[in-house]
């Protein structure tokens, strides 16, 4: 009896995705898909708007990573007003970086504590009612309070810089529009009202230790689960250091061979193309020189640690070395290592935030905005929490946007998430007499490791119903699961 399993929507991810797994009469997996079924629209409706509106308009793509879109668009619009990243004033560059690292810090904290930790703490076969952050809070109070406080720290810093935790404004074409006051800075240093940045570093270090020990205890499973070869993409400084705000694009294959040799972000279109599939609104980016089949890349924390030569902050670098020593591999291709890599990046962000907070230049009040010779095209690429994020705008003579191309982090991970689903389908579900809820959750665990933001990837609008259905080969509904 052939069957189709549908998981709709995938839970504890941002946005609405659907998984279908097609089984033949013997229960063997024939095919599996991770569908993105949300409406895509931002690239179109931003056309016709003045260029200077872009950094604010595009942050409405998402309520979780609006800062990333704000800054990527700002970098692109900087170029339209004649300012390349290296020509931004030091003050503007540092304030933007501070907000960017605060965003990654709070987003990574959110993913680990709110989304991933239930699976790690309670196991994938735990009852669904237990696999959530409320249960984590009830049984792991200290962990939950730290998670909430870390997220709050990042959000408060974003608010101090941009006026709001979500959808605030810091960047304007060629710079920033507001200064950062000493009193605001001291709020994050003194610890009088909120645990300070030193505490954030301490807690981030604890979390890295926690996940390292978790890997020691569950090594075989974490090494094997959803492991598959792929390319990896991210940005680095000229000396190969991990760089999240403004670096060169570097990609490697699954064994560490360079497939994209530190190219300037302005040249991305020469190297990347995007494929489409009839069953998803999300595109499939790939490197032209490698080809559609092998040229796709994972992005995000695991990919970034794979492609960089080192992390330029001491505690995170030490953690990175332990991470690679643990595996004994030069490149890590096991999906579940994303969580470990994410926590190392969380620590790195905390270290960078501390350095910036102690930099007196961030308190400056002069040279906020610069302007050069205007151009009709701008490209901004940053490393968002979930991976490489590209914003590309073109304008007409009146300054109206005529073209917008967004290659969102989650889009790069489209192939990877499909591979991860396929791995679970083949290794966990195939040929099983009974398909349990715990098995289906493993599909979601594999996707969740990539922290996908499906709203961003498709620029989605709409509600997210929750329904899982199992059909027999005649199309009869055999089983229905509601999670609402």
């Amino acid at each position: 009896m052939s069957r189709t399993i549908t998981i709709d929507p995938v839970t504890r991810v941002e946005g609405h995705g659907r998984v279908t797994i097609h089984l033949d009469e013997r229960g063997k997996v024939e095919e599996s898909y991770f569908h993105i079924v949300e409406f895509r629209g931002f690239e179109r409706f931003i056309q016709g708007h003045p260029y200077w509106q872009a950094p604010n308009l595009v942050q409405r793509l998402c309520g979780i990573c609006p800062v990333s879109h704000h800054l990527a668009a700002a970098k692109a619009i900087d170029q339209i007003v004649g300012i390349d990243p290296e020509n931004l004033s030091p003050l503007a560059a540092k304030l933007r970086k501070l907000m960017h690292y605060a965003q990654i810090f709070q987003s990574h904290a959110l993913h680990f504590f709110y989304l991933a930790s239930p699976d790690l703490l309670f196991g994938m076969d735990a009852p669904p009612e237990k696999r959530n952050v409320v249960a984590v809070a009830a049984e792991n109070r200290e962990l939950a309070v730290k998670g909430i406080t870390m997220r709050k720290f990042g959000q408060e810093l974003i608010k101090a810089l941009s006026g709001k935790k979500i959808h605030g404004t810091l960047a304007i074409p060629g710079g920033v529009y507001k200064t950062f006051k000493k009193k605001q800075r001291d709020y994050f240093l003194t610890g009088d009202e909120l645990p300070n940045i030193d505490t954030m570093i301490e807690w981030s270090t604890e979390m890295v230790e926690f996940i390292k020990n978790y890997h020691i205890e569950h090594r075989v499973f974490l090494d094997e689960f959803a492991a598959f070869p792929s390319g990896h993409l991210g940005t680095v400084k000229p000396d190969g250091a991990l760089e999240l705000y403004d670096g060169r694009l570097r990609a490697i294959d699954s064994e560490g061979n360079i497939t994209l040799p530190d190219v300037h972000s302005d040249d991305y279109a020469e190297y990347f193309s995007e494929a489409v599939a009839r069953w998803s609104y999300m595109k499939f980016p790939y490197l032209k020189n490698v080809g559609r089949k092998q040229g796709w890349n994972r992005v995000g924390p695991m990919a970034r640690l794979n492609i960089c030569d080192y992390i330029p902050t001491p505690l995170a670098e030490k953690a990175r070395l332990e991470y690679f020593d643990f595996t004994g591999h030069k490149v890590i291709n096991s999906t579940m290592y994303s969580h470990w890599a994410r926590l190392i990046e969380t620590l790195h962000c905390a270290e960078v935030i501390k350095n910036l907070l102690h930099d007196e230049e961030i308190l400056g009040e002069e040279d906020l905005v610069r302007e050069g010779r205007h151009r009709q095209k701008g490209i901004g690429i940053i490393e968002a929490p979930r991976g490489t994020l590209t914003h590309h705008y073109e304008i007409d003579d009146k300054g109206m946007i005529t073209r917008c191309n967004l290659i969102v982090s989650t889009t790069h991970n489209n192939d990877a998430m499909n591979e991860a689903v396929k791995w679970v389908a083949n290794n966990v579900i195939s040929k099983k007499e009974k398909i349990t809820e715990g098995m289906l959750n493993q599909v979601e665990v594999a996707i969740r490791a990539y922290d996908p933001c499906l709203s961003c990837a498709t620029q989605a609008l709409g509600k997210m119903p929750l329904k899982a259905e199992l059909y027999d080969h005649n199309g009869n509904l055999v089983q229905e699961i509601l999670k609402n």
Binding site: T11, R12, G63, I166, L466
Partner: protein
Amino acid sequence: MGKILLIGIGNTGRGDDGLGWLFLDEIEKRYPGMFAAEYRYQLQVEDAELITRYDSVLFIDATQELIPGGCAIRPCESSGSFHYTSHMQSPEAIIYLSEELYGYEPDANILHISGYEWELGKQPEIKALDNLERALKLFHETFFDKSNTPAQTLKSKPVTL
């Protein structure tokens, strides 16, 4: 007066879903500086920490429920039930988390305001705005005494017009 927090939940870009935010706008006009106000698209786990700094909290949210009189204030009972996305929690779950994590249980209520249209880009319906006005009246009648002095806390008692 105790410290009172009003949390408006919704999205003014989605028709009547913005009633919670519009309510806060009106409160600030009518009672400037008297209440702390927070605007939320959706409640998140960290709001459990926020409410520990207040004696009372009132969540204001539009509802599809057609309430007689257009609005109602109901006690917000603690509940460990959760929303599957983890990015959207109910007021009841926020109160539960506040108790569990911080050992704090504020006096909490929800002001529901009936809405009718929820499409993107729509303006609020006239009858929804009528309900908003009723909600403001209900709020005043419930939380202010005859001398127009606000109560010490927002008492937990179900109220409708």
